[in-house]
């Protein structure tokens, strides 16, 4: 381990700008993935800097409840006891709440920005943990072979048999809902697919001559794993990560939707949950986070597909 952690200085910097440029050129040819990347970048900017400008997403004001988004208006009938009749007023959207408000008068824009922050945070962190574990376990299993491989892969199989969402609900129920726990649980259970895929890639890598060659020249096991195996599966890791982020975002949203999300934070799932009760009167409360989820998941999928094509030397772009 000490040998590998003492990373040798390289002639060229570890980041190969020419190669990165080459992949970027290939990725650029896929318009959809660029659109995806653009939307994700926008979302990230919104998540990072949005809260500085937006209103407090937790601030309630019943005077402005159920305001429609700007450009829409709703009919509101108010019963007047003096005349014993209904007066119908038209309630238009207001510029200070451009995306409307929910039934408690909370600003939708502020809530969506807060939600994008949570979704991206959970998505990136949980996927990071999951892919890190998956890569390590996959490469280790493939490299060690024999009983180590057997034990690790049977453990993976067992992990896969658990209904993932049920496990998530159960653990959150026991330990209490908090973002940390949600991230940890998704990360610690979501590595199985990555481990299998990385293992299969690493298995073919292990028999390549350059692995034997580096062993023949005295490299230790950890050096072979960290300096030769992992750099060779890194493109697969990036693709896997990009493609598994949407699942994680959806899982967090679903958890929040059924009311088991972090009560201290406003995520898209939480908003969806409040919105479902007012679907007939204030449809935007449910529709807006739905659109955000839809676009985010789609963007990551487009980006993942684009990356897969860009990294695949056999694909002609």
């Amino acid at each position: 381990m000490t040998e590998a952690t003492k990373a040798p200085r390289r002639i060229s910097s570890g980041f190969n700008s020419r190669l990165a440029g080459y992949y970027w050129e290939r990725l650029k040819k896929n318009r959809l993935s660029l659109v995806g990347l653009g939307f994700i970048a926008l979302l990230a900017l919104l998540g990072i800097f949005g809260p500085l400008f937006a209103q407090d997403p937790q601030h309630t004001d019943f005077n402005v409840k159920n305001l429609p988004p700007l450009g829409f208006s709703i009919q509101e009938s108010i019963y007047d006891i003096k005349t014993d009749s209904f007066t119908t007023t038209t309630l238009p959207g207001r510029p200070d709440h451009p995306l409307g408000t929910d039934s408690k008068g909370r600003d939708m824009l502020a809530m969506l920005i807060s939600g994008s922050r949570i979704s991206l945070l959970v998505g990136l962190l949980a996927t990071g943990i999951a892919i890190f574990l998956g890569t390590l376990i996959g490469v280790l299993a493939a490299y060690a072979g024999g009983w180590v491989d057997n034990v690790l892969m049977r453990f993976t199989d067992i992990m896969m048999t658990f209904p993932f969402f049920l496990l998530l609900v159960l653990i959150v129920f026991i330990l209490g809902p908090s973002l940390t726990i949600i991230v940890a649980v998704i990360g610690l259970t979501g590595w199985t697919g990555a481990a299998r895929l990385i293992r299969s890639e690493a298995l073919s890598l292990r028999t390549r001559d350059f692995i034997t060659a580096s062993k023949a020249l005295g490299a230790s096991d950890s050096r072979v794993i960290f300096n030769h195996m992992i750099p060779n599966v890194i493109s697969l890791v990036i693709i896997m990560a990009t493609l598994s982020i949407p699942g994680v975002i959806m899982a967090e949203a679903a958890l929040s939707f059924i009311g088991m999300g972090d009560p201290m934070s406003t995520s898209w799932g939480t908003i969806l949950n409040t919105g479902q009760h007012t679907m007939d009167t204030a449809w935007w409360v449910a529709v807006e986070p739905g659109i955000m989820l839809f676009l985010t998941v789609l963007s990551f999928n487009f980006l993942g597909d684009g990356l897969r094509d860009a990294f695949d030397p056999h694909s002609i772009i």
Binding site: I11, A216, G218, R223
Partner: protein, 347 residues
Amino acid sequence: MTPSTRTPSSEADNDYNLNVMNDTVLEVSGLKTWFYTRRGIVKAVNGVDFALKKGECLCLVGESGCGKSVTALSILRLFDSPPGKIVEGRVLYGGVDLATCPTAYLRQVRGKDIAMVFQNAQSALNPVFTVGDQILEQINTHGGLSHSEAVSKAKSLLEEMRIPEAERALRMYPHQMSGGMKQRAMIAMSLSCDPTILIADEPTTAVDVTIRAQIISILHELKARRNMSIIFITHDLSLVSEIGDRAAVVYAGKVVEVAPVETILKKPAHPYTVGLISCLPDISTDAERLPSIPGSAPNPIDVPAGCPFHPRCPKVMDICRTVEPEFCQLSPVQATACHLYDTGVKG
């Protein structure tokens, strides 16, 4: 004289020891590497004996699948284990048996004392790093040099391999190099820790004849300049005559004849060696068909009893079918394992 404690000041002891040991740097005796597969035990190496002297080039010659490469891998224990296992024999280097020593010790020996060059440089270089980085990594593995010293050493290694524009070559990725450059870079990499022994496993198979000639002359130089011992594995007898000092003929995982290359080519003793030599096309005769050895190499799972060559041997005798022949010394430099030369049976 352990590889890890060797210092320049102990050179003298080194020489003294080697003289006592008759200049032998590596001694392989009775080596058996078997692979335990589902279809049975593959006896890939089934009793290999040879001794490598300081500054000589020993060729391991034999057909495909006769166990040459596994022998080379066994010296550094580089085969997959399981299924592979050294079941018997010794690989003596510097007084230590590499077949049984701890892996940590073996790792010290690998690269620093015994280095290996592979057949296909294309796949033996890591595609994601520059050649320079890979050579640097090797230099760093066994440590002791500063970054700038290591870089200049890497550069001089490439220059020694006659790679043009070494500075630029250091920054190249394997796919940017030609096959011959890659093979030479590979050799440079294996020389990065100044090993005493270089094992070259068919290093010229994947390159064209001009590069082949270059590599052969580089190996000659290494032998002369660094007094390096080389184990050269090949199936090509013409290569053996170009580079080898001595040759060991391998058949069915066994060494059947050891002799200086000249003797092997002019006065082969073992019927298998005789067969191999007669298969060489001769430009002076006008033969329609090239001669060949009848039959095919034995299945390593099911090696024939007695002498493994007896089913194909033109001079087969009754004893060959049952008794495994012992090595007999025909002259101080030539030895063969064949009943024809057994004292008492002869004639």
